[in-house]
């Protein structure tokens, strides 16, 4: 599920004094900057090794240690004023231990040697206590040893090198342009910046230092009716990315906000949608979230096995033996991949939190479901069915205080062969609604019934956009919805949408994840009026 932002959802870094080093090991070719990625800080490496020694001595048959710094910066504005400038830095160590077949985890902000040893022993003791009370079996798939892994998010300008005034100036110029539009009363805008330094050391000999950079800019414009009887907002919020500051500059907010502001005002007088059956043309700024909820989450293997039953739920894509290679998710034109390699995507890494190299794999091939998302302990559950003997690299813990578990990679819908644009797809629609931007969203705990709103709705008649509509949402059942996919747009319509705050697990952890997709046409969807 996509979470609202909580105060402590992020904990974060400044650059530690990290020595630059030799070329990385086992680095995916796509990352040109990988060779310049810094290696581990010597003191952190020593602490990690100390923790590994202690946890092994305490009985762990496998263990991994994360020493991580997390830096999070938020700059927020409304109209012509600043609302907040905050930077959070969090630094600590987390130790995960396997004793018998049970996991234990302990973490602390205190990196003094005695504290690190205490925490390492505590992780092993918790694992042992669990194994005694409820013994279980865990098999870890093999992972290639990475003795000196180094990776950094490809970027030109480190967002933390950009002065706060410059960021605020961009937001103020954006707000000013929006306020020029008659009827706009309020505008708020913000930029979240993240930089994380993560050192992973495993009892199998991997030592991996990675640095992640992410940015999430957003704007919300509000128009209020003259008699205060109504208000409408237009939010642009799906543009989080793993890129440098140059990405935010390239979004040209001060130029583009004009259209969003005009749309907010138009929504006040737009025609209420007539409920019923309509074709849907979904722009990537909307479709990414539908993919997240109706493909990304249902194809998590831990859900299929019941591990998330008490919170996020299970999935209709289960049990594995009944669906792998058998379940028709959609038509032949539907091809969906999972990856942690797509440039600019938020879940892209060099290695996951178990030291497994980033990769890409098919989840839905020509409409047929062919594989789940896995971590090392999950491979054994389905390898007889898939023939895949290695983890697909989906282990992730939000920070040093979070136990790593299966998190969603980038899950993306591939564009079609023919390079159809948004207008080309609209032209194929006789009576439909074109939706841009994500709105209200909710889906059941097995990912069948969903209801998604949007930011802007346009009525399509005979292949043309004719008027704006309001108060629309579509309600559907995932299998029928994806089987109604009629057209996928071409490579030039492909875009990434993303969130910083995908929630899963107990305690809930946030994961940043992107979904790429082209524009797409769905037939005969069920539209409701939400007013």
């Amino acid at each position: 599920m996509k979470n609202k932002l909580g105060r402590r959802d992020f904990v974060k870094v400044t650059g530690a004094a990290m020595a630059a080093g030799a070329a990385g090991f086992n680095i995916p070719a796509a990352f040109s900057q990988a060779n310049s990625a810094p290696g581990p800080d010597a003191a952190e490496r020593e602490i990690a090794m100390l923790a590994l020694d202690a946890v092994k001595a305490a009985g762990a048959t496998y263990a991994d240690v994360r020493v991580s710094r997390h830096l999070f910066e938020a700059i927020g504005t409304r109209e012509r004023q600043i609302t907040n400038v905050t930077k959070n830095e969090s630094y600590g160590i987390g130790v995960r231990a396997l004793v018998g077949g049970s996991w234990g985890f302990a973490s602390t902000r205190d990196l003094a040697k005695d504290s690190v040893v205490r925490v390492a022993r505590e992780a092993a003791a918790i694992a042992a206590a669990n194994d005694k009370i409820a013994p279980t079996k865990t098999v870890l798939a093999p992972a290639r040893r990475v003795p000196d892994g180094r990776w950094i998010t490809p970027h030109e300008i480190d967002p933390f090198s950009v002065p706060v005034e410059q960021k605020a100036d961009l937001l103020f110029r954006t707000n000013e342009e929006a306020l020029k539009v008659k009827g706009v009363q309020f505008v708020s805008s913000r930029i979240f910046s993240v930089k994380e330094s993560r050192l992973l050391a495993t009892s199998e000999g991997s030592v991996i230092q990675q640095t992640f950079i992410r940015l999430a800019p957003s704007v919300e414009v509000t128009a209020v009716a003259a008699d205060a009887s109504d208000f409408q907002t237009r939010t642009q919020s799906a543009q989080a990315a793993a890129r440098g500051w140059e990405y935010v500059v390239g979004l040209s907010y001060p130029e583009n906000v004009l259209r969003w502001a005009e749309e907010a005002v138009m929504k006040l007088s737009a025609r209420p949608v007539e409920p019923g059956r309509w074709d849907l043309v979904l722009h990537p700024s909307h479709l990414w979230l539908t993919i997240h909820e109706s493909i990304g989450h249902p194809t998590e293997l831990d859900r299929a096995m019941g591990y998330e039953a008490n919170y996020a739920g299970t999935t209709f894509v289960a049990p594995p033996q009944n669906v792998l290679g058998k379940l028709r998710y959609g038509p032949e034109i539907m091809n969906v991949v999972g990856n942690r390699t797509e440039p600019g995507a938020c879940a892209t890494v060099g290695w996951d939190d178990e030291g497994v190299a980033a990769t890409e794999w098919p989840i839905i091939d020509k409409g047929i479901f062919v594989n789940y998302q896995t971590t090392r302990e999950m491979v054994d559950w389905i390898s007889p069915l898939t023939g895949v003997k290695e983890s697909l690299g989906c282990a992730y813990g939000e920070n040093w205080a979070s136990i790593p578990f299966a998190r969603m990679p980038n899950v993306s819908l591939k564009p079609g062969r023919e390079d159809l644009s948004v207008e080309d797809v609209i032209a194929q629609t006789r009576r439909g609604i074109y939706i841009e931007g994500d709105g209200s969203y909710s889906i059941d705990q097995q990912r069948y019934n969903f209801q998604f709103g949007g930011q802007v709705f346009w009525e399509i008649r005979d292949g043309k956009r004719v008027r704006m509509l309001r108060d629309a949402a579509y309600v559907g059942r995932t299998p029928e919805f994806w089987r109604s996919l009629a057209v996928v747009g071409g490579p030039s319509s492909y875009e990434l949408g993303a969130t910083f705050f995908d929630g899963k697990g107990q305690p809930t952890q946030s994961n940043a994840v992107s979904h790429g997709c082209p524009v797409a046409l769905f037939r005969n969807a069920n539209i409701i009026n939400t007013a």
């Binding site: 600043i82 959070n88 234990g104 602390t108 998330e308 008490n310 209801q451």
Partner: protein, 458 residues
């Protein structure tokens, strides 16, 4: 061989008042800004998670974080760090001050508060603070055992938090509070996935968490919901159990703001301007308050900027009594500042769940909700789904288990359509099963609740 962990008996988690004061003074000693505020959060979290009738993960984490807010004129910025040595704290203060100096002015900044008087709150329960890993594992195992005996599969979560928060300003304000919280939830499913039941408690005091009853509730709901049958979507009389009510009322917190209303972007906006304070908006039996000393639902007696959070009524006898006013907005409107709700306590009535069921000719019993999101802020309409036990009521009796539903429902209308109220309880109100904002609510019987479409999920 595993060496024993050295654990002090009855160790109180989080910094003491004295240590918090000393730490804040250390930070303020580095400060050169016009005003400086220090917020300190400290404590520990322990959790145990079960699924597939085994403990899947368990762990602990402790942390101390210091947030420094520096102010020059109307320029302000904050830095949060968890590194507490002098060098790190001094750097954090310098960074906050440098950031504040270059930040644009916030014309709405209101100077830091001096010393305030705070309510007495005793929200730290040793029963929770001293809970061991083994005790959590035993409680988890109890749910597993109950499920196994019923031929079912358990997945549960026990979240335990214990710690303290402190605030200090360069104007001489100091506040300190210690709190504990525990949430225990359990989902029990049949092995074939055809039924699911849920039970859960949340509180500040571990002794109020009824692990055996939670397991019994979850098993019973799973049993009763087997062989669910079809029921069409529509408007129904419903009985909402406390967990369902709590999830909905949690959304009210975001709507109780005067500025949003005064600016015309809230349900509480009055046509032509202003807000609806003083107006009778809801059923006369609806009373909603916040109280930092509410038993087993305690909160800090101050906000993060040091404002006292005394007892406050939001809705009294169906009349809108208060909306929250930020210090800036209060000054602008020439009224007293009112911090937003830190907990929500709703009054109840004397009806039992059985009374409610007996009074219904045709309706639906709802155990809890899932994935609730705002649909329309103009009407405080939310959407979401029923989960883990949904039943048709006919002629005063539960007649059969039925499919789940999506609902699209205005909470404002719901508070107008209440027909019967039961005894309020602190309910497990977060979707994630973590300790959350305390919400104390009764079970409700409500008319014309809109179950808008069918969900096949189990």
């Amino acid at each position: 061989m595993i060496e024993p962990i050295v654990q002090l008996p009855n160790r109180r988690h989080g910094l003491s008042s004295e240590d918090s004061r000393a730490l804040s003074e250390r930070v303020l000693g580095f400060a050169t800004a016009d005003y400086t505020r220090v917020n300190i959060q400290s404590g520990t979290r322990g959790f145990t998670r079960t699924a597939m009738n085994r403990v899947t993960t368990a762990g602990t984490s402790d942390d101390v974080s210091v947030t420094i807010t520096s102010v020059f004129g109307k320029r302000t910025a904050s830095i949060e760090t968890n590194q507490l040595d002098d060098a790190s704290l001094g750097k954090a203060v310098r960074d906050a001050e440098a950031l504040a100096r270059i930040s644009p002015e916030n014309p709405e900044y209101v100077p830091e508060l001096g010393q305030q008087t705070f309510a007495e709150v005793n929200g730290y329960y040793d029963s929770t603070g001293n809970l061991s890993t083994e005790a959590r594992a035993r409680a988890g195992a109890l749910g597993i055992k109950a499920a196994e005996e019923a031929g079912a599969i358990a997945a549960g979560f026990i979240d335990v938090q214990a710690g303290a928060e402190a605030i200090a300003t360069s104007n001489g304000l100091f506040g300190y509070g210690a709190l504990t919280g525990v949430a225990s939830t359990l989902t029990v499913r049949t092995p074939d996935g055809s039924s699911s039941g849920w039970g859960g408690d949340e509180g500040a005091d571990w002794t109020t968490i009824e692990s055996e009853r939670i397991a019994a509730d979850a098993v019973q709901k799973c049993r009763d919901w087997r062989r669910k049958t079809s029921l069409e979507a529509g408007k129904y009389e419903v009985v909402l159990e406390p967990a369902a009510v709590a999830t909905l009322m949690g959304w009210m917190r975001f709507s109780l703001d005067a500025r949003q209303a005064d600016e015309g972007r809230s349900y509480f906006a009055k046509r032509g301007g202003g807000n609806m304070i003083g107006e009778k908006l809801f059923d006369s039996r609806i009373t909603l308050i916040s109280d930092p000393a509410a038993p087993n639902a305690e909160t800090l007696p101050f906000t993060s900027n040091g404002q006292p959070t005394p007892y406050r009524s939001w809705i009294e006898g169906g009349v809108m009594k208060n909306l929250s006013y930020s210090r800036f907005w209060a000054e602008r409107k020439q009224v007293a500042a009112v911090p937003g709700p830190a907990n929500l306590v709703m009054s109840g009535g004397s009806a039992t769940r059985d009374d409610m069921i007996k009074s219904i000719r045709r309706g639906v019993l709802i155990t809890r909700f899932w994935y609730v999101r705002m649909l329309n802020p103009r009407t405080i309409a939310v959407t979401g789904l029923t989960r883990d036990g949904t039943f048709l009521i006919e002629n005063g009796k539960i007649s059969r288990p039925v499919n789940n539903f999506r609902f699209n429902q205005s909470i404002a209308e719901l508070l107008q359509n209440v027909e019967m109220l039961g005894a309020p309880v602190r309910a497990a109100a977060t979707e994630g099963g973590s300790v959350g904002t305390p919400v104390v609510v009764p079970p409700l019987k409500v008319k014309e609740f809109f179950l808008s479409s069918v969900s096949d999920a189990i």
